[in-house]
């Protein structure tokens, strides 16, 4: 094709030469002089170049050629005005980069399908309780769901916990999931080595078996292919490894080992919500059908169960697993995406204004091109090309920035953000960046092309290149843009302000405990039923605590089953009763549970006396545990202030006895001996919950966090404690943190929002300020002559200043008014994410408005000052 075209063009040149030669000959024949004849021939032929070009166009992809031409020209223009190009490209890079980075998180967490076969067919099943909240599923309820529903190909329950694991290269604290048969089938996963659990593995008393994750196999089992040789000791029990799961498969999150759930035996209670449930929909079954199915079963259970009460399910619900995993993160991430979108708008507005100023500088050039016959379409295309070039440059730079910024973003992200490991700059994210850049380019191109090639163009030439013609109208457009920028920025900064104030309010909350100088140590012993084994655990912890107290710098040591701000405590219903009322059999509890006046509801926490001292939880009345509360003396409980207030209003709870054995299997009554202060166990922004504390030495518990109040630094305490643990139980692994870290992590998601939205807000503020400055400075410089005339006619500098500032202020106030209105409408939607401030918090609105007006006024003041310095003599000679 190309060759043919080249030949045709060469022939054409020859042909034209021949043509002109012939015409010249004709002219000579008519009596002209040779020179005259030649020129006449050429005149008659027309512009040779033009003819050649038109002919070439016949053969070429004309659009493409002109496109290249436009691009070359655009590059030349951008190179010529380097300052403009740099500012525009960097502004776009910042905005597109930030948007791409946030989108990559949104994509990785919310949009990207889960990495399982037909992952959209995998559902989570929940119980819905009387207050409408969703909870996990009790064993008998799961059995009914499994046996009676017709919607699932396979359905399985699972439950993850941290366990001490030894037998591999080193002891570890590993997340272990107990799963029912069919679990892998639901997720569509098969072992890459070995086998799935078989029917034989599920039976109680079978030789315990375990599946391991690919990562665990690589790291701790040396990628051994001979699985028969490997055994793991998990919470004291010996397991043979039967299979290795594929790389990347870690469901539920962070799990490295999977055991058959049936080893634990069934809990017959319909109100012990111990298991999460997943199911794979049958082909052709919709989510709605599955919901009707499960809901019907759940309601039947509700209607027929003997365990009536708040903890019994009222309904059931089926939601896609992906939604169940990411549900909590959704609103926060979409909020961030919205915020960064606003930043993008502000940035685009800035670039639009830059282009506008640039266009009026180039007015004369364009007027000339237009006069020389450039079609309007061609000029429009030129503008589009330049906008595309700017946006693509900015976009590429932005994507590079996003690569770099994403690491920081992920590091900053709260720990509880699910699926963070699937966040990356991948193909869909790059496509997004490209589409985004293209959209930005199209928007900017359309805007500037419409502005620049409108009817005012030709006047540019008439005005002798002073470019005054379209000044007024482009100034007006510029001001509209700036007002819009101010409005959007105000919304963003108000949002940042509200989230910032929320975080401050959260930090002001008195948590009810001390945070500093506490080193925590997570350990776990296996769950045991046998009273003798339990006594052994109590002795182990007692020894451990005594030894830890001797670490230099450690002042006090406590232990708890649930550190505040670290995942929460189990809750349940307790019974108010006395020693004589204890029924002989479990069935005897049934009638008691029907007596509402006996029931109470609280979190269940196992702790030691030292725990209250280390955390500084104040004793309100009575006493906390002491050395006399031995395993065989009456079991005691300490309750929180809010429980005392709610359950025993106008009464003294001390001395009452309660039955709370449903939490740990020990039916001995607990005598309330003291009341302690409330703690914000579930987060500073969540209200304290009524809590019952029992004594670790009377009611041992497997998974324990030791708390050490220490003046020494964490590392030395941790290494000393590790040595002690090694000494007492070499198979036990521990995890060390400071309580400050736990505290800080609990604020992670708020901090993430504040930092990001704050960053977007500040960036938008800077951009908007720059926008105001740009428009005002430009306006002043274009009006130099007019101002000079005014000064020459006797205008005082103060008057000039007022005139310019007044003009700026009008724009600013319009922007602020729109911004406040928009904020009032938009912040309501984030009310649920705020804490301690209303969505219309006057202080935030007022402060932000002042800040914005101040910054914008300053941006006006500098050019206005310059205007007052205009020397009329110089100004009138201007241009």
């Amino acid at each position: 094709m190309m060759k043919k075209r080249e030949r045709m063009m060469k022939d054409l040149e020859e042909d034209i030469r021949e043509h002109i030669e012939t015409e010249t000959q004709d002219n000579i024949a008519r009596g002209m002089s040779p020179e005259e004849a030649h020129y006449a021939a050429i005149r008659k032929f027309g512009n040779v170049m033009r003819v050649e070009e038109d002919t070439r166009d016949v053969w070429s992809f004309i659009w493409l050629e002109q496109f290249w031409q436009d691009i070359r020209y655009a590059f030349r223009m951008l190179r010529k005005s380097r300052g403009f190009t740099a500012v525009a490209v960097l502004t776009l890079a910042l905005a597109i980069g930030a948007t791409t980075a946030i989108f990559s998180v949104v994509y990785g967490v919310l949009l990207q399908p889960l990495p399982y076969t037909d992952s959209n067919r995998i559902m989570s099943v929940f119980e819905v309780n009387s207050s409408g909240t969703w909870s996990r599923v009790a064993d008998p309820n799961f059995d009914d769901f499994r046996d009676q529903s017709r919607s699932f190909q396979s359905i399985a329950k699972y439950h993850a916990d941290i366990a001490s694991v030894s037998g591999a290269s080193e002891p570890t604290r590993t997340t272990v999931a107990a799963v029912s048969p069919g679990f892998l089938k639901v997720l569509g996963v098969q072992p890459i080595l070995g086998r799935d659990f078989g029917a034989g593995d599920a039976k109680k008393g079978a030789g315990p078996t375990v599946l391991v994750s690919y990562g665990y196999w690589r790291q701790y089992l040396g990628s051994s292919r001979d699985l028969a040789q490997s055994h793991l000791k998990i919470d004291g029990g010996l397991f043979s490894i039967v299979g290795v799961l594929p790389a990347g498969f870690r469901f539920p999150a962070d799990v490295d080992l999977w055991l058959p759930a049936d080893l634990d035996g069934e809990n017959p209670s319909r109100t012990s919500h111990n298991y999460s449930v997943v199911g794979r929909l049958r082909d052709g079954t919709t989510v709605q059908q599955a919901n009707l199915d499960i809901s019907a079963i759940a309601r039947r259970i509700h209607d027929t169960s003997s365990e009536q009460g708040d903890y019994l399910l009222k309904d059931g619900i089926v939601v896609p697993l992906q939604d169940a995993i990411t549900g909590k993160a959704r609103s926060s991430l979409l909020l961030l995406l919205g915020a960064v979108g606003f930043l993008l708008l502000v940035a685009c507005a800035n670039v639009a204004n830059l282009l506008l100023a640039q266009a009026s500088v180039r007015e004369r050039e364009l007027a000339i091109r237009s006069a020389l016959g450039a079609a309007r379409g061609r000029l429009v295309r030129q503008y589009f090309t330049e906008a595309f070039l700017l946006a693509l440059l900015g976009g590429s730079l932005g994507v590079l920035g996003a690569f770099w910024g994403l690491a920081g973003l992920v590091a900053l992200a709260p720990e509880n953000l699910p699926r963070l490991d699937s966040v990356s700059i991948n193909i869909p994210v790059l496509v997004f960046a490209l589409v985004l850049s293209t959209a930005v380019a199209a928007g900017l191109g359309a805007f500037i092309a419409a502005r620049a090639t409108s009817g005012e163009l030709r006047k540019g030439l008439v005005e002798g290149g002073r470019g005054q013609a379209s000044l007024q109208s482009s100034q007006r457009v510029g001001r509209v843009i700036v007002a819009a920028q101010i409005a959007i920025t105000l919304v963003l900064v108000v949002g940042a302000g509200l989230f910032g104030r929320s975080l401050m309010k959260v930090l002001e909350v008195n948590p009810g405990f001390r945070v500093e100088k506490i080193v925590t140590m997570d350990v776990s012993l296996p769950w045991v039923d046998d009273p003798k084994a339990k006594a052994g655990q109590a002795i182990f912890f007692s020894n451990l605590i005594d030894r830890l107290k001797q670490i230099p710098g450690v002042r006090e040591v406590g232990a708890t089953s649930g550190l505040p701000l670290d995942g929460g405590l189990p809750d349940g219903m307790f019974l108010l009763m006395t020693q004589n009322e204890i029924p002989k059999t479990m069935d005897g509890f049934g009638p008691l549970l029907q007596q509402k006046e006996r029931l109470g509801n609280a979190d269940f926490c196992v702790a030691t006396d030292g725990y209250f001292q280390v955390l500084g939880i104040p004793l309100i009345r009575g006493r906390i545990f002491n050395g006399r509360d031995g395993a065989n003396s009456p079991h005691v409980a300490v309750i929180s202030e809010s429980l005392a207030r709610e359950r025993w209003p106008n009464q003294d709870p001390i001395g009452h006895t309660i039955e709370f054995g449903n939490m740990d299997g020990d039916l001995r009554l607990l005598t309330i001996v003291g009341i302690v202060g409330d703690t914000h166990e579930y987060g500073l922004d969540a209200p304290p919950r009524p809590t019952v504390y029992v004594n670790l030495f009377q009611r041992p518990h497997g998974a324990i966090t030791l708390t050490m109040l220490s003046d020494a630094d964490m590392r030395s305490v941790a290494s000393a404690a590790r040595g002690i643990l090694q000494d007492l139980n070499p198979e036990m692994a521990a995890k060390f943190r400071t309580f400050s870290q736990v505290h800080s992590t609990s604020l992670g998601s708020r901090r993430f929002n504040v930092i990001l939205i704050g960053f977007f807000g500040i960036t938008a503020l800077l951009l908007a300020t720059a926008g105001v400055f740009g428009v005002m400075a430009y306006s002043v410089s274009r009006r130099t002559r007019e101002i000079g005339v005014r000064v020459a006619l006797g205008a005082a500098p103060g008057g000039i200043l007022r005139m310019i500032l007044g003009q700026g202020l009008r724009t600013i106030f319009i922007g602020v008014a729109i911004g406040i209105t928009a904020s009032l409408a938009l912040t309501r939607t984030v009310q649920s994410l705020l804490f301690g401030v209303t969505a219309t918090d006057p202080l935030t609105f007022g402060g932000v408005t002042l800040l914005l007006v101040g910054a914008a006024l300053l941006a006006c003041y500098i050019p206005a000052r310059r205007a007052t310095k205009v020397d009329p003599m110089v100004a009138l000679r201007h241009e």
Partner: protein, 119 residues
């Protein structure tokens, strides 16, 4: 050159140049300059071809395969390109001509309805 003469010359309607070229080539292969001359001569110098514009038109017709080009020698014994009607070009010419006749007739009827009625 008087202004009158200029006014009497008519610029070619868009697309008609192609038709005229095809018609000119009906008599046999001709080179570029001769085509321009022929059009001017045959229209009694009323139709003014800006000679250059002939070439993009010729190439357009080549691209559509209505004409072909071959080497030859011009009347003053120079090497020149001769343009030749193809079979397809011949068919096209017939079609275009009848279309043109129809259109010209129609335009004439619109422009002079009164005369026709009056006669």
């Amino acid at each position: 050159m008087s202004t009158k003469e200029q006014r009497e010359r008519i610029e070619l309607l868009q697309g008609t140049l192609d038709l005229l070229i095809l018609r000119t080539l009906l008599r046999g292969p001709v080179h570029g300059h001769a085509i321009a001359k022929a059009i001017e001569f045959n229209s009694d110098d009323v139709l003014q071809v800006e000679q250059g514009s002939l070439y993009p038109a010729l190439h357009r017709l080549i691209k559509r395969k209505w004409i072909s080009v071959e080497e030859g020698t011009s009347e003053n014994n120079r090497r020149a390109k001769f343009y030749k009607l193809t079979a397809e070009g011949r068919r096209q010419l017939a079609a275009e001509t009848s279309k043109w006749d129809k259109m010209a007739g129609a335009i004439a009827r619109i422009l002079r309805p009164a005369e026709q009625e009056g006669e």
